[in-house]
């Protein structure tokens, strides 16, 4: 079944003093995929920006860039879009995961570029120091000869079950080693964790940022704006190509996930980042996300 959503993602900054200049980069517009069509989509800045630009980054994500060259004490960035998400069939690929690694090691041409870029340590995924710890987790699921999709699904369940979701635990700078030590975290942490596990044994794994439809408890109304942005992981398989799975929720996305962007990790696809010029002062940040079925 295809589902339609209207997504509103609002990020509001308030500063302790007036800023003279501000530059904002936003990665908020869902990207079209074989299973996802994007209708109207916009990213707005309030106050109106002095200049605006957009471009596709190296991974094909749409990036909006704004310059606000007037005094401002606050700025709000709002991404708004309508998206249709088709139901994805359950992926099937029994290729043994070791064979996938061998195929990636020998990859040439498009695969060497497309998958090769997602097998290395990156800003948020430290493999040098954590390789051993990550492998000890991943080996529980990636047993010898096991199929790639089945193993990945098992890893997804494993992370979901052995790590505790704790919204109070993480801010974005939480390094993976703290997540590993505390066995808790938020969706970004679990996505990085899964990505790190897969790369530690030589597989190609992408970090995916987006949204998920959240359902209110039975009998209660939906709360507007109470959702949040989401992140999950994608692994390359020979038959199915990139297969998404969501370690935070312990399942493979069907039609409740809205894909915005992918990259090596969070640093490549940060929803909103920027710099301001002005006195050094406090910053207050308020984020609201609404994923409404329409």
């Amino acid at each position: 079944m295809t589902r339609r959503y209207r997504v509103v993602h609002r990020t509001a900054y308030t500063y302790g003093a007036a800023m003279t200049d501000g530059y904002t980069v936003a990665c908020l517009v869902p990207r079209p995929t074989p299973w996802q069509r994007v209708g109207e989509a916009s990213v707005r800045l309030d106050p109106l920006p002095s200049e605006a630009d957009s471009f596709l980054d190296a991974f094909g994500n749409l990036v909006n860039q704004f310059g606000l060259h007037e005094l401002h004490r606050a700025v709000t960035i709002t991404g708004e879009s309508t998206v249709e998400v088709d139901e994805r069939p359950v992926p099937v690929d029994p290729t043994a995961w070791e064979a996938v690694v061998a195929q990636l090691d020998a990859a040439r041409d498009a695969l060497a570029v497309d998958a090769g870029f997602f097998r290395s340590p990156s800003t948020f995924v430290d493999l040098a120091d954590l390789g051993v710890a990550l492998r000890s987790i991943v080996e529980r699921s990636f047993t010898p000869g096991r199929g790639i999709v089945e193993s990945a699904a098992a890893l997804c369940t494993d992370i979901h079950e052995s790590f505790e979701f704790d919204p109070g635990f993480s801010d974005l700078s939480t390094p993976l080693h703290r997540v590993l030590a505390a066995r808790r975290g938020v969706c970004q942490d679990f996505a990085h964790l899964a990505v790190g596990c897969l790369r530690s044994i030589g597989l190609a794994a992408r970090y995916v940022s987006g949204y998920i439809e959240t359902l209110p408890p039975p009998g209660q109304p939906r709360l507007v704006g109470a959702d949040a942005s989401h992140a999950w992981c994608s692994v390359w398989t020979p038959r199915e190509g990139w297969v998404d799975f969501d370690p935070t929720n312990g399942h493979l996305p069907v039609n409740q996930h809205v894909t915005v962007a992918w990259g090596r990790d969070y640093a490549d696809v940060t929803p909103v980042r920027g710099v301001v010029i002005g006195p050094s002062t406090s910053q207050h940040l308020d984020v609201s996300v609404d994923v409404a079925p329409v």
């Binding site: 190296a58 040439r108 301001v276």
Partner: protein, 760 residues
């Protein structure tokens, strides 16, 4: 490092000068008469001393390594270390250099093709010669540069090469990001041309003077724009290669700019100048790739310009070298570079990357005084430089040699001994390229430079006043030691007041109240304290002055270097008449050069504004202390005598004592002195003259508010003295704040917005 003078050192020296230790045909070695001249044991000490002195005079040896706090309170963090130039150059015969230069040009073009492929077609990645895994793991591979097509990836290139003992030349490392050292190469040559001019003249050493022309052409060719405007984009004083940048900017005749000088608007890069924003076409980038734009993914720090890379993507500005060119230097990528070169240029390369970092290298003679760890000879790594203007690759017929200490990684020598590189013979064809159209920023002055020139001059003026007061007091004590105890220490107390006034002690800890202390002791202690204050101001002067070297004459640089030396003595408390005389002579030279060598444009105007403003404040400070000082218990003649002494100091400190004596031919009288110092329009050091100059500068800068403030300051001169001084001070201070707000309101460093906290 220990100076070697006589005895055994000489014997060793003679040993290799005889030539049997080195084969006669060895490259890198001077031969015949040149060898005799360069290795002449009787000349080494003198040449080394001269080289040291010249290098220091140009600020490269020590000056910048001892920089204190800037006027804005930020400490200057200099990571580079002082180095010395060994007076024995590395000598390349023309055949060797011709071969090397062809190999370097070939390698530069090959790397251009490699980089273009890594960001374009990525055939090397598809064929797995450079695995995507290696690129993904380093932030030197700039993902957002993928797909970009700059005019050229490498406008400039440097390569470290070494000659193995078995006679094979090898590449130690490629420098493709922001190749450092060309400024040092030019600087070392300028030193050598004065250390051994007769040897150079007699031996047809290839000139490197034309290289800056080739560089300008190459930088201009980094963009398709006609008559492009080029600036050198530096990390500022905190960058370890700042002297390199600063010296090079002067040689190239381009503005040295820092991130805060630039702003991105409408997909273009603009230089902030006193006259407003002016467009820039090419940034000669001396900042490393990951630091140029704080908006960029995984950017380091906030030294760059926000939005710069968007301007680059839109074609509004060109970077030289292009963004991403540094990928060749990435540790993750280096091991694939040779195979990549072989793939894009399938001919045998003359120079290949050194596979074994511990290979035995050929040794060259080193001067015993250079401090090189091995007193006779040492292995050396040569850095060669090249530029590409799209038509030709030009290789500098010279370079820098860096001496290796035992066990050194050739990529990171620790010895801090540099050698000039001489290419012999006339075989290098002089290249006369087309003359570049002289598009310049004309009279425009970057606001940051204006800011630095303003504070340089304010500090110079204040430091000079303090030194002069200190000198007057010190010489009075020297001439008449009894003065200190005169009238129960009344003289000493009064002089202490004057020192406090000119030292503006409220800001400083060096001078302090010392209740109950013997007044003479207090005075002497404060005199030393004043020396420390002078040293502080010299520090600000040097720091600010160093950032605007391109606006100051070469001679001014030498004066600053000398002041740096004197500053060390002052900080040690060596504050006597001679020391202060030396400082005053330097200040006089600095002020004289400022007025005689600077074109009367915005740079001069803004600097002179700083100087006049500080002078006005100095006069107010001193006159206030002369008329308002507490007189203690003294009455009658004693009081008058002390007052007269104070007035005399006041006049002398303003260099107006002689003028006063000529005019009045009498003992000093307060009213006449005040008239001369405050009201006399013909006295260049009077308050009224200073105010008049401020007004003229404001007028020339078409700054109405400044003119109005100067007019208000002038009106205060009509008030009675006790009202005049505070009123004038208020307006002058206001003028100072207004200058900063109007002309320099320079942006502060970019602040990163907090990343979104989003959780599900």
């Amino acid at each position: 490092m220990s100076p070697v003078a006589t005895g055994s050192a000489h014997r060793e020296w003679d040993g290799w000068a005889g030539g049997d230790a080195m084969s006669a045909g060895a490259p890198l070695q001077p031969h015949g008469a040149l060898r005799m001249a360069l290795l002449d044991p009787d000349r080494q000490a003198e040449r080394q001393a001269r080289a040291d002195r010249l290098l220091e005079a140009d600020g490269a040896g020590h000056l910048v390594h001892d920089l204190p706090v800037r006027s804005d309170g930020r400490a200057a963090a200099i990571e580079s270390r002082p180095w010395r130039v060994d007076p024995i150059p590395v000598v390349l015969d023309s055949a060797t250099f011709r071969w090397l230069s062809l190999a370097v040009a070939e390698r530069m073009e090959a790397l251009e093709a490699v980089i273009a492929d890594l960001y374009g077609e990525r055939r090397l990645v598809r064929d797995r010669l450079v695995p995507a895994e290696a690129l993904a793991a380093t932030d030197r591979y700039r993902v957002n540069a993928v797909g970009s097509r700059p005019q050229r990836w490498l406008s400039t290139y440097a390569v470290d090469v070494a000659l193995r003992a078995d006679g094979v030349w090898q590449v130690v490392q490629d420098l493709t990001d922001a190749p450092p050292g060309i400024g040092y190469a030019l600087l070392d040559r300028s030193v050598m041309s004065r250390v051994v001019p007769e040897v150079m003249a007699a031996n047809e050493v290839a000139s490197i003077a034309r290289y800056t022309g080739a560089m300008r052409r190459a930088l201009a060719a980094a963009t398709g724009v006609d008559s492009p405007r080029i600036v050198l984009f530096s990390g500022g004083l905190d960058h370890p290669s700042y002297i390199d940048h600063s010296y090079l900017a002067v040689q190239l005749g381009v503005h040295l700019v820092e991130g805060a000088d630039l702003v991105v608007r409408q997909r273009r890069v603009w230089l902030r100048t006193l006259d407003g924003l002016e467009p820039v076409d090419v940034l000669y980038r001396r900042l490393e790739d990951p630091t140029v734009d704080p908006l960029e993914v995984a950017a380091h720090g906030s030294v760059g310009v926000p939005g710069l890379l968007q301007a680059v993507r839109s074609g509004g500005v060109a970077l030289a070298n292009a963004h991403g060119a540094g990928v060749i230097e990435a540790a993750e990528v280096i091991s694939y570079v040779e195979a990549a070169i072989a793939h894009v240029r399938p001919v045998e390369q003359s120079l290949a990357l050194m596979s074994d970092g511990r290979a035995t290298l050929a040794r060259v003679p080193v001067a015993p005084q250079s401090g090189a760890p091995d007193a006779i000879d040492a292995p050396v790594v040569l850095r060669l430089f090249a530029v590409n203007d799209g038509v030709t690759v030009s290789v500098l017929p010279g370079g820098t040699g860096r001496v290796l200490a035992p066990g050194d990684d050739p990529r990171r020598p620790t010895a801090c001994v540099a050698k000039d590189v001489w290419v012999l013979g006339r075989t290098i064809a002089p290249t006369f390229g087309p003359r570049l159209p002289q598009v310049d920023f004309g009279r425009s002055l970057p606001t940051r430079a204006a800011d630095a020139l303003y504070w340089t001059n304010r500090s110079a003026e204040r430091a000079e006043a303090m030194a002069r007061v200190g000198r007057v007091v010190a010489s009075r004590i020297e001439q008449d030691p009894g003065l200190a105890a005169l009238h129960g220490g009344g003289w000493s107390r009064r002089m202490t007041d004057v020192l406090h006034a000119v030292g503006r002690t409220t800001d400083h800890a060096h001078l302090s109240d010392h209740v109950g202390e013997d007044p003479t002791d207090g005075l002497l202690r404060d005199l030393a304290g004043l020396g420390a204050l002078v040293a502080d101001e010299i520090g600000v002067l040097l720091t600010e002055g160093t950032t605007v070297r391109e606006y100051l004459s070469v001679t001014t640089g030498r004066v600053l270097a000398h002041l740096a030396t004197l500053r060390t003595g002052l900080r040690r408390g060596e504050v006597d008449v001679d020391a202060l005389d030396a400082v005053l002579a330097d200040f006089a030279a600095f002020a004289g050069l400022w007025h005689e060598s600077i074109v009367r444009g915005p740079a001069w105007r803004i600097g002179d504004t700083g100087r006049r403003l500080e002078r006005a404040l100095v006069v107010i400070d001193l006159v206030e202390s002369a008329v308002g000082g507490p007189r203690g218990e003294l009455r009658g003649d004693a009081a008058r005598e002390i007052d007269a002494a104070a007035i005399e100091v006041l006049l002398a400190a303003n260099e107006s004592l002689v003028a006063y004596r000529r005019r009045h031919r009498s003992d000093v009288e307060l009213d006449a002195a005040i008239a001369l110092l405050v009201h006399d329009d013909t006295n260049p050091r009077s308050l009224s003259t200073a105010i008049e100059r401020l007004r003229r500068h404001a007028e020339a800068g078409e700054w109405a508010a400044g003119v109005a403030l100067a007019d208000r300051a002038r009106e205060t001169l009509a008030l009675p003295l006790d009202e005049l001084l505070p009123a004038a001070r208020t307006v002058i201070d206001e003028f100072g704040s207004a200058v900063v707000a109007r002309w320099f309101s320079s942006p502060v460093s970019p602040i990163l917005m907090r990343p979104t906290e989003d959780v599900t």
